[in-house]
Symmetry: T
Subunit: 151 residues, 12 copies
């Protein structure tokens, strides 16, 4: 079937990973996460495009763009998880399978972090496993992408 | 009295109209809506400036700019309807008459879409008529603009 | 296609228009609104039946009656907007396209006026433009009526 | 003990049964329901008075009237279920045993339909069985009426 | 200054007073209350028009009518206290001073009876004193009516 | 069509009927209810299996078992009405028509008893008629079972 | 029957009446209100003890004391209306009939002023009539006191 | 380091998988899921104990037992997700790393399914990927188990 | 009067006491608590039956059984405190005086632990004193049992 | 270890015990409760200081004072339980172990009485046992005081 | 313009500053805060009157008194922040500019501490800076006082 | 110690200060505020970097940047106060002391403006003093910056 193409979206403040509240978000930097993702993607025969931005509009634009080439999306919406209906609508608009990931277990944190406006437009959610949330998410996304190409 | 000048603001994800969830938003593209608006504006002797952006900040900047030249604003805030207090404050700050429009009937959709943070700073709201929401909104805006110029 | 037929429903207290809290509802009387509607309906090749009542049951009966002859309904439910589920169910029962109009912008008023039990059974809503809410509503209703006849 | 006398009250919009949203309310007309009720009432040795109105005040008046002759009341309050405290107070005022019936299972529908202001003044509630809600309700009402006469 | 004219409005189910739940509403009949009101009105040099109806629309019509002749309104809205925004809007529309009375202390009863949609458009409220709620209300209304005529 | 087969499920604490709070639940014992059910089932040409348990898991197991032989289910979930989503999911899983019954009128009791997590997966609900809730429920269940066999 | 004895309780900040927010509370001073009360009490053959304090504990002590001599209590709890459960319990403890009065119509003001923790232990409430709230309250209290002495 | 030992817990109604609401839960049977888990566990050098029960108490007992031998727990609590605080406390009591999995995306379903009482005592949550939720969960659990053994 | 008989009920997860979250629940094991209870019961001339189960149904069965022999019940419902209406109904059904105890101060913990569905059917509650909650509870229960036998 | 010293605080309205709503609070007077406390304190080798006040400020002052000499505090905050954050902060400020007691079972009464703002700063709570709530509370407080002295 | 006069009000429990929960409220005593205030007041040419009380009534009396001589008020309402509407009304009644200060950042603490009933009658609020909250508050108050004298 | 470095962040719409709703926000322009800040910063020996943007992402980027050079942050988040969790997380991520300022007293305005998502990550908040909110905030920030450098 050839390689599947996955857009990986990192939301706001994730550029500071490793240095930002490491007791919550761990000590891995975003570069290290991206390396791990790239390594696994080769194993899974997938091609990744990775973007990070602190600008909601940039993320919306990137997601729009992805509808022309991607087979699935992995997104860690960061703080946007809890209020960015624009992001949610963008994901719904492009119609690709979406895997929502979080480093921390958002359901075990402050009340306001337990609600995701993104979740209803995602296929599924993986949270709480640090870097592994991304890697498990990549496995899920690749599978969804392959199923989609088969249809 | 001469032409009245209207700023037309399209919020996030509206650039995908026609292709995005057409069962909700219809099959007209943004270009087609803009054409229809321009056609009607000629009939009504109005001049339009039309902007679309997925960036909240860009929309705020455009609205600020409008206070120097526009007589009224038509805005479909898209997803920003439900949380962008920045947009609301921008509209309140420029002091122009605002007509809020929506393609779908937001009061008949998911609970979170029924609340508009924009509404309290608008003169009125038109929703549920697809492209016609814009065209009716243009009629309303032109009338408000004319009344404003007369004062 | 011939004339389309529209039922125009004015809810409770609207008979006092012009004299009732004019700072909110404007100075136009109900007769003046009805004249304006009739004038526009001729231009749009529509035929109107206009009713006003302070009795919920009378309005329900009129709406039921309309299912035999009308092509669309324009309704300003007045105070019934906020609690008359009977009116809502009547509108749903007759299955005609419904345009909900309000003189004032109900979404910018007291909390209890922001919720419409009618909205979920209407095609769309127009509010805040005074008499023009009705006239824009008539344009919308005529278009919906024409589309319906075509089907 | 002689025949028991039962008032059967049909609330607003029930006159449209059979033609109104049949996927929810079924295809039986109100006449057919009334026939079925009359047939069963003969079998159970009961006498029925059946009223329907879209006017809350008419229903209140009828319920008041019933306190002079009826032994029990069956009521399908329709939309009034959810807000007519006047109806509730009328039922409480006359002091007869009340059986509340609904064609659809209101507890499985929209949130606002799950709350009945009538229920606290009824002996019991039967809902979800279409026409059979009425027939089961008649059985219950006749039994309550007989017990009441015995006291 | 001559007699002042007062409209006395009795809401739904009040026609059953004396026989309806006397442990809550007392044993006085509506006729007895009206007699007491008429007796006191003579003492206070006031003229009363007294209406009772179980129909919301009738009460709205009567209130509208009163704007042509009355100097004040006493209203016991009964069950309409809690949901009839139509009644509230009618009272606001006619612009007369309104005295809201209740036989029972609604603030000491079920939760839903503690909220009055009428209160915000009334000058004041008197509740809990049985027949005396009306008589005290009449004293208050006459005084308000006299002040109003003086203005 | 032959006999229909009905599973009758009694939830927790119903084994104490007759002795438990008889002012709420009546003086009939569970044995007496079961006898009455069996008598009526013969009249209606139905075969009953009756189970009672205070163990949620036992009830879930029984409901699962029923999918192999029963045509309908009558359930008085007792206290489980208000929180046992496991029971709800079991009923949804087996796909049989479900009739929910309660001895008392749960909608007229404490707030927490007014909400049923079972209701959304039931065809209908009968409550408030004591033993007759079961007998009316049996009539409803037999009818639903027959319709199901016909399909 | 002799004179009845009434305790009149003025809550916190009422010592500033006349000078405090006169647009809400009127221009009468507390001394003027007390004079008017004393004048009317003579007419009604009642004896008053009047206390004012900004100290909740002082008011509780005074109410306790009243159980030895008073026949009824009039209380304007001021700000304590909304939170002083101690005052409420004191009033309930002494078992005298309580008339709650307010100068302004608390049900037409800020949300937090609409709830009275005192109301459930009062016979009734009078609010919105300025000084007349007290005078009407005195009439009510005297009547309740006389009825109590008769028992 | 040798094999890690994982307890896999399937909650109520999961024994019906494949036949129960397949549009939500998929067509895989529990046996098929267990086979897939066992296959993957061999690849990951893990040993599984798999239990399913519709009895909350049985699951609590099994979890208690696991504290003597297991290195981690995978749990799909099914309906217990939403109310079984007993299960939550059991998981907290044994102090093993817990991976919560769900076949469907609970955050995109009915409101009551979006809240997990289990989540705050789990390391993380994986939902929405059908059978793959379990397989991804096994990967996560094995990694957590290995880290725990290393400590 | 002879010995009084007390049923002591330990809810779910209490079998792990001493090893489970000792910072919250203390270091005493259930055996040690039971020993302390037995020692005190001898001093107080009481006879205890002690049960612990993680199965709600087992506890309900035990409570039912107790109505034949016990004079009072001490219960630490553990996690069932917060949702087991079945347990609550069981306690209400047997009609014995109930003393609710908790090791920790549930009113000082997470929000969801502050609400007890058991409390409204208990005579009183003792919480926060660790093992002493039980011992104080035993004193209370013995006294209630003696009073009950005297009646 | 010598005597421990305990401050016993009785909140507002408790001076009326015995005469105040005896069906809720029992027939024992405050003097009788204090006698019983003194008797038991001798047995337990404790020294009591007992205060009662209807003034929140007096109680706060007394609690402050206690930090210089007391080893523990027993408090029945009466009505202050539900709103006196000043009392709560006073108890937190002095840092002594606090035992909260109530004569009645506050968790089985009106909704507003179920919430204690004091509880989060107390070691534990005892309620519902009348005078015995105090005596059990004294046992608990003495034990806490002894443990504190040992530290 | 001469010296401005400022009333500084310290609410309940602030007399224990320095010794009370120093991790929240810091180690400065009230005397030290007052010294710092007096030092700064000389620099700013202001005259202070400083009061502290644990009695709400005393604070209300002091605030009333201040209307005769003060130009502004600084208040740290302590626990009264969250419920003392009497204090709020006192501040509103005297009509002086009010500066609300808090040692800790109340918006970052327990939910109930985030709401201030005082805030709506204050000019502004300063919180979270320990002693500096007072000193910054003094600067603000002096400026407001000067502006007021100028008017 | 040398100069401390402070980042001053102005949120959306603050560029319109002076012209925007001056009755709420005052007549000072942003330039005037910045001048006042610069003047005071010289007096306090601080160095300022001042940024304003209507783009959330730009503010997040600036805050990230500040972690390399600033000693403290002053932020007026404008409309972002109420929803920008991204901003909140950015402030938490950089770990600098944050002073939140507002021109108006947000706690005395519309309900939605009373809640700040930024507050929990700020040291303190100053609001309601117009330009002086900034100047007092600068004093607070400089002090926090100095303390931080000392550590």
């Amino acid at each position: 079937m050839g390689k599947v193409k996955i857009l990986v979206v990192h939301g706001p403040n994730l550029n500071l990973l490793g240095e930002r509240e490491p007791q919550i978000y761990g000590r891995a930097t975003l570069d290290e996460i991206n390396s791990a993702l790239n390594t696994l993607s080769e194993e899974l025969d997938a091609e990744l495009k990775i973007v990070q931005s602190n600008h909601e509009g940039v993320l919306v634009d990137e997601i729009h763009e992805a509808r022309r080439w991607a087979d699935a999306i992995i997104i860690n919406p960061g703080a946007f998880t809890h209020y960015s209906i624009a992001l949610r609508d963008a994901l719904a608009a492009v119609g690709l399978p979406v895997v929502e990931v979080h480093l921390s277990n958002i359901h075990a944190r402050e009340e306001f972090r337990r609600h995701s406006v993104i979740a209803p437009v995602a296929v599924g959610q993986i949270c709480g496993f640090g870097v592994d949330s991304y890697l498990l998410g990549l496995r899920a996304a690749v599978k969804l992408a392959r199923e989609r190409k088969k249809e």
